[in-house]
Symmetry: D2
Subunit: 366 residues, 4 copies
């Protein structure tokens, strides 16, 4: 084995990415080391680079969802089904760890994504503590981090096309309580929006509508079983977008609307798209992008609306999303979300392409 | 029987109430006539007088929740339990009628309170169409309107203390999904807020906190099993009220917060009082009192909050609330919510007292 | 118009079907008359012929789910979306009517399928009261019966392939609370079982398994996106069928199991197929086919199981199922459930084929 | 500190209890030692003595729910609210531990009470492994076991009156989805049944009915806010008990029925007491006491019933139950459930009294 490995390091907000050498990680008992196959660039990485998240322990090695082959394990490990994890196996891992199982949020509220001890690979892990991010030749899997084998036949690029959008999108759709036959609108056509649209369709929606930009992302949506899309370029006024939705819902508005834009102004707009007694999920406001003005009477109270925030995802969401990817990828083709692949030393370029919306999703192949 | 009866008529917004004579109503087949015993003055009546509701067919006879004795029925009638309604019986009735059972909202969404055909006694019924409001010596019960006998032993004044707050408060608490042991905050100490607080306690909350004014309303809350109250006069700054809630919830915020104020600014304030993954019910924005500014990231998305509008109430809520009143009134004493009783010809005075918050609830005894 | 029309009449249990002439129906105000295009033969019709349902007002014209063209309406009618119903339009109708909207079950429990006033075309309607069943050249649509236009492009034979299984199957799947990624087992491969399997897949199950017979029905299941089937002929012992399910669920049992067999012995068998904390839906016990022995400790209490009866379906289920048929029929092909088409005068033959399981579904083309 | 402590040991099924000396336990890091104040005798202890549970590692020190004072901690410990645990503090602890947080049931199904790694003090802990049961002068609290301070003012005897029935009863009521205004029947008047009845009332039931024996237990029920009770001695025939329930529910049956008897025959009986579309919870079948015969058509399918098994309880249930005990004990008086107190060396006598139903609950005061 080599004595060092290379990783892309974000040393501080707005600083250029650096390629640094790290001692090759070795597994702690109950842990493992992966040979990275692919790691994603997602909107969160852009936020990290813009310094928009609080409490990030720079320098960090970004890359929260990744896949790779098991190089070495610290003793025998099993997956959640009880099957042994073997060397050479193609796996991903649930990027969230450290959820304590002992605090009020974990034990009383059973709201695990709000445990204050929760940590996330590539976001709240410092490069000082190890190779705990995917933009690296190898990744250290700490004890307690949950490995998930990719099911047989799943194309790693298709998996990465889903990436962190798998768990986030599925969780958002779960929150939306999609009923069989519903019409679901998704605001936003980034990776989270596209995955939410796909899972809404898989949940039994009779019609899924996506509003977003630019056009290539909407083309991907239509290829992945979305019924209709609206390009922001074709309807720059919010009121026109509301009219577009109402024209497709007998004037009533949609049964569920999922916000996945990152823009606070999407919230009042999306509430206007919602039918009375409908459900509105806010999943796109991962960072504080500012306030929004709503009318509590018209948007919520008289509308008898249910508005649901959706934070992070739990292991179950990630696990279930992968099971559905395995079942439906042949028909839906998540691979098409991966616009470009980069080597590690072009990390800055990959981030810039993501920030400019030139790609749906970029991945590293270190 | 007399040939005419008297009723208080609101002829137009802001106009003085008038006492007018109407032909004594006679029941249509399937309908009934009540001799009014008591009818309420509630916040909606103040809104009606201020012209704050759209589509009101003035002139109207206000008074949506009332009780009285059955004078005459148009053939045999049964209550919902299948028992016959008899002359002389003390009853109330579900003030909402005309829900069509045939539209998309009724049949597909099963969202009966959003049926566009829904009508309400004393609000969307014109005095031109009959004595369809409670501020009158008699009330015409149209065919299809649901009579509910007051259970044996229920004091009519206690029932009126609950009034329309019974169904509204219980529906709000149902929306709040109160779990056994929860801490529930109610913003607002009007009739809806007080009833919501009572039903939150009856739902198994371990702690119910009410924030409102003026002091006599808060005293009533404490007499009705509310654990602690905060007077707006003692904490005029919203931030201090948030601190007060957090101090009583280990710093986390409440499991559920119910807004019952009518003030849009209560919404962002209440969201700050909510724990992560908590539930926030908006029931107090019955009219459009303006916009509110929220932070979608902090208030909803990261908080994993569930925000629930609550519009009107269904028969089931009113029926269940009366069953609980019958069980708990001896201990809780809804009677204390009735601050003053008025004869019909002092309708203007009663409205003014309600508008000035001089009373918790005023009732007419026509 | 002709003065009489022909209908197949079931005069009494076990009696041969008769073709009788009836006066051509005319619409009452708010009603309509359909020219029958297709009407189904379903398992209930076999039960009716065997006298297994209580309270059936023989003679009856069977046929509860049908489609046809609007011949005449009693004034202007709208569908649930508010669009006018026009002469010549291809429609079906919700076969349940008379739900009162006034009883305890309707108003307090909101359990509409248990309203004691509920009636069903072709089952609880007597031929003495009109042409109120689909095995007839025309069908009288009573006022209050809900017409549903078949969406553009829906093949009437595909719709009939679903037939009453559409609403029943969708309701069963709604009860099963299928989560994204679940494994769902369906016991039984009749029309209800097959539709339940299809809707389970459309609800986001990652794996749907059907256990039934005979082989042609299982072949249909596999053609309609069911993952695997088990033929009772290949596993005649219940324990082997349980083993088959456990082998496909890491030994745990399925997340949800839907019983659609009509055989009480399926219940303990299905409970053995269920994972801990799973959901078991009983929808196949439409008539009393006898008792079953369960072990309350092992099957329910320790298993932390949820067992859900499912009776009938509401308008919303039928409406939603048709919307999903319209979206997915091109891919799934409900048409293949229709094994044979019969003219009216071969009603006895059609019933016999259904009773002998020679067909998945037979339809009349009167 | 003494070098040894005394504990009552159940060496094998049916064997006489023995008092043995054990080395005085010392806390591991993250653990603690309690000076036992009180420990309960419950139905499970009778089952343990009768050898009715599988996999019990005899010899055991029984006593799963207990309270005591903190003697010593292995480093600093906090409660779930983040407050430090201090020496001398009066605490109880959640008797379940070892739930792995890593298996399919924990992570995917989020069904923590079905984790196969779950262990329980006094039931699945061997006396060979330490003083891991409450029938002892001291109790070793292993690392990871959750301590809960008894709230100020809670009488330890009242807490023990609830005992393990607190969490079990609250969990059963949570499963029953009690709606405000419901009528709830509890079958069984042992500690679980009585606590379920109390929590049903606290959840907002308008009427709670308990069917059980012997008379003193029913008297306790009525003193604790239960509306009516039926003594099995007064209605030895199941059909008469069903009639009694139907007479109190307008002939419909109860909205929810909770089985807490331990007798499989209670299941078909209880299903007959249930209204259409009601909920039936099976919580009393903690051991395999045999089969029951139900009619799937009549009891479940046509009834549109929901039948819910309820296994164990989670920390949240225990925590919430204690919060409610603190709020309501002054009014309800859980203390009255403790019929007798025993010293440790009369363990056999206590067990015999419990088995003979001579006591509602017996406690040890070691």
């Amino acid at each position: 084995m080599p004595e060092t490995i290379r990783a892309a390091v974000m040393t501080a907000p707005r600083a250029a990415l650096e390629i640094r050498a790290f001692p090759a990680p070795r597994p702690a008992p109950g842990g493992a080391v992966l040979q990275t196959l692919l790691s994603e660039v997602c909107g969160t990485d852009v936020h990290l680079h813009h310094g928009r998240l609080a409490g990030v322990p720079y320098p960090i090695i970004p890359g929260h969802v990744s896949c790779g082959r098991v190089l070495e394990t610290g003793g025998s490990l099993n997956d959640v089904e009880g099957r042994p994890i073997t060397t050479g196996q193609l796996v991903t891992f649930y990027d969230v760890f450290g959820t304590c199982g002992a605090c009020w949020h974990c034990l009383v509220a059973r709201a695990a994504t709000r445990c204050p001890h929760r940590r996330v690979y590539g976001i709240t892990t410092s490069a000082r503590d190890g190779v705990l991010g995917g933009w690296a030749e190898r990744i250290e899997i700490l004890p307690g981090v949950r490995l998930l084998p990719l099911p047989d036949g799943v194309d790693p690029l298709a998996f990465m096309g889903g990436g962190c959008g798998l768990g986030t999108g599925l969780h958002a759709v779960e929150r939306a309580q999609v009923a069989l036959g519903d019409t679901v609108v998704v605001q936003g056509s980034g990776p989270v929006g596209l995955n939410a649209a796909v899972f809404a369709a898989l949940s039994g929606a009779a019609s899924v509508l996506v509003i977003g930009a630019p056009a290539p992302r909407l083309a991907v949506a239509r290829e992945m079983d979305v019924d209709e899309t609206l390009d922001l370029a074709d309807a720059p006024a919010p009121a026109d977008r509301v009219v577009w939705v109402r024209a497709r819902t007998a004037g009533r508005g949609a049964d569920a609307v999922i916000e996945a834009t990152g823009n606070p102004q999407a919230v009042p707009e999306g509430l206007e798209m919602l039918r009375d007694a409908g459900r509105y999920v806010i999943v796109g406001q991962y960072t504080d992008a500012g306030d929004a003005t709503i009318n509590p009477h018209r948007h919520v109270n008289r509308r008898h609306a249910t508005v649901l925030g959706c934070w992070g995802y739990e292991f179950t969401h990630f696990h279930r999303a992968i099971a559905l990817l395995a079942r439906h990828d042949r028909r839906l083709g998540w691979r098409r979300l991966v616009s470009r692949q980069y080597p590690l030393d072009r990390a800055g370029e990959a981030l810039a392409a993501m920030a400019a919306l030139e790609v749906v999703k970029a991945v590293f192949r270190p």
